[in-house]
């Protein structure tokens, strides 16, 4: 599952419905963040509350995640309480499309040779979420996206067979 693509795929959703921020175990412990706990990741431009996963396969001092698994409630015609809308998170809140400049004009935050977006090499700080905080990602839209006119609701149970599709509502 890459980016937000395939979040409408019933089988791939059963592999990943939400993402973690992957943090080296020693780095996370030093910051007081438990494995599977809610934490904050903060850049000069914003902050995100997300789930932490301790990992020994991550360089200490570096964090990563799959981006855009988190979605607005109701997006992709998923149920408003889908895991993507509660536990998944979006890193876009931490980055900017443009670099800070001393003068006027904007400089694109992209690789000068290839033009490839260079958004994710950003310095962040991490710290644990406090005990009373909601166990869900932040920021997230308060209003769920509404289905577009003519769109039917998603089925609650499904079983595919070639040539026919069994739908139980």
């Amino acid at each position: 599952m890459y980016h937000s693509w395939d979040s409408q795929n019933a089988w791939l959703r059963q592999i990943h419905t939400y993402n973690f921020l992957m943090v080296n175990a020693a780095t996370a412990r030093a910051a007081g963040i438990a494995d599977g706990a809610w934490m904050w990741v903060e850049s000069p431009w914003g902050k995100v509350r997300c789930l932490c996963r301790h990992s020994e396969a991550v360089e200490p001092g570096t964090v990563w995640t799959w981006n855009a698994i988190g979605k607005a409630p109701g997006a992709w015609n998923l149920a408003p309480d889908a895991n993507e809308a509660r536990q998944g998170f979006l890193l876009n809140h931490l980055i900017r499309e443009e670099l800070p400049t001393s003068g006027s004009g904007a400089v694109s935050n992209s690789d000068p040779i290839t033009g490839q977006a260079a958004w994710y090499d950003v310095r962040v700080r991490i710290y644990p979420a406090e005990a009373g905080e909601p166990a869900e990602t932040w920021p997230r839209p308060e209003q769920a996206l509404q289905p577009v006119p003519g769109m039917s609701g998603a089925p609650k149970r499904r079983g595919w067979m070639a040539g026919l599709m069994k739908v139980v509502k």
Partner: protein, 242 residues
């Protein structure tokens, strides 16, 4: 006597889940299907899969391995799921050793899933019957298919060829050779289930770094007028056959 089985090479599995989805694609549409998906677009979706990949880490940074471990029914030679079945629905085929469930006889009592030490069985919540890997029996025995395609869907789908399929009782089969020559092992032999499926262990990768590999060579097409000289003046790795 034939005993068909999978041999899975943990050294090359990259955890892409192609075996998981191709398995579901074939089997939901075949004799074993349909395989239910519950809350496919809601909270905590679940469903029936005959094959799943478990991923775990071993060791501490920087000496870490991320192991992707595909797991399905191991088609044991002495399967504990068969004698516990009160209706005879769970059985092992004499002709090829595949362990199957007859859905017409299964009453969904789940005894077999308690007896299986590997957690390889999946209750279908829609049909209330026990399901499991069939080794794509409706595919490998289909003579209408070209011979090269008479293999389980997961074997055909694997992009790294981590999955081998064949008869482990034939000492010259590709699976028997792999087990013999590459240290193939069975899971939890202490249960005396004698799983037909085997796994090939991860192997240590040796990488030799030569001194000149650590020196960055400037781009020879540099346009500042002067071509840079290679920092390596003497004989290097390229000058020797290794």
């Amino acid at each position: 006597m034939t005993q068909l089985a999978l041999v899975i090479d943990l050294n090359v599995c990259v955890g892409c889940h192609a075996c998981v989805t191709s398995c579901k694609q074939w089997n939901t549409s075949g004799a074993a299907g349909p395989l239910v998906d519950d809350q496919p677009y809601g909270a905590d979706p679940t469903g029936t899969f005959f094959n799943r990949v478990q991923t775990f880490e071993v060791g501490e940074f920087p000496n870490t391995q991320t192991v992707h471990f595909p797991k399905s029914c191991l088609h044991c030679e002495d399967p504990p799921c068969v004698p516990v079945c009160p209706t005879g629905a769970s059985y092992k085929r004499k002709e090829d050793g595949i362990v199957l469930v007859d859905y017409d006889k299964c009453i969904g009592c789940k005894y077999c899933s308690w007896a299986c030490p590997y957690g390889a069985r999946e209750i279908d919540e829609e049909r209330k019957v026990m399901t499991k890997c069939t080794l794509c029996v409706d595919r490998i025995t289909d003579t209408a298919l070209p011979a090269a395609e008479r293999k389980p869907a997961c074997v055909l789908a694997c992009p790294t060829h981590a999955r081998l399929f064949g008869d482990v009782h034939d000492p010259e089969s590709v699976v028997s050779v792999a087990i013999r020559e590459r240290g193939g092992y069975a899971l939890m032999p202490e249960w005396n289930t004698r799983p037909a499926n085997h796994y090939l262990p991860r192997r240590r990768t040796e990488l030799t770094v030569h001194a000149e590999d650590l020196v960055r060579v400037d781009n020879p097409l540099k346009i500042d007028g002067s071509r840079p000289e290679s920092p390596q003046q003497g004989l290097g790795r390229e000058d020797f056959a290794t």
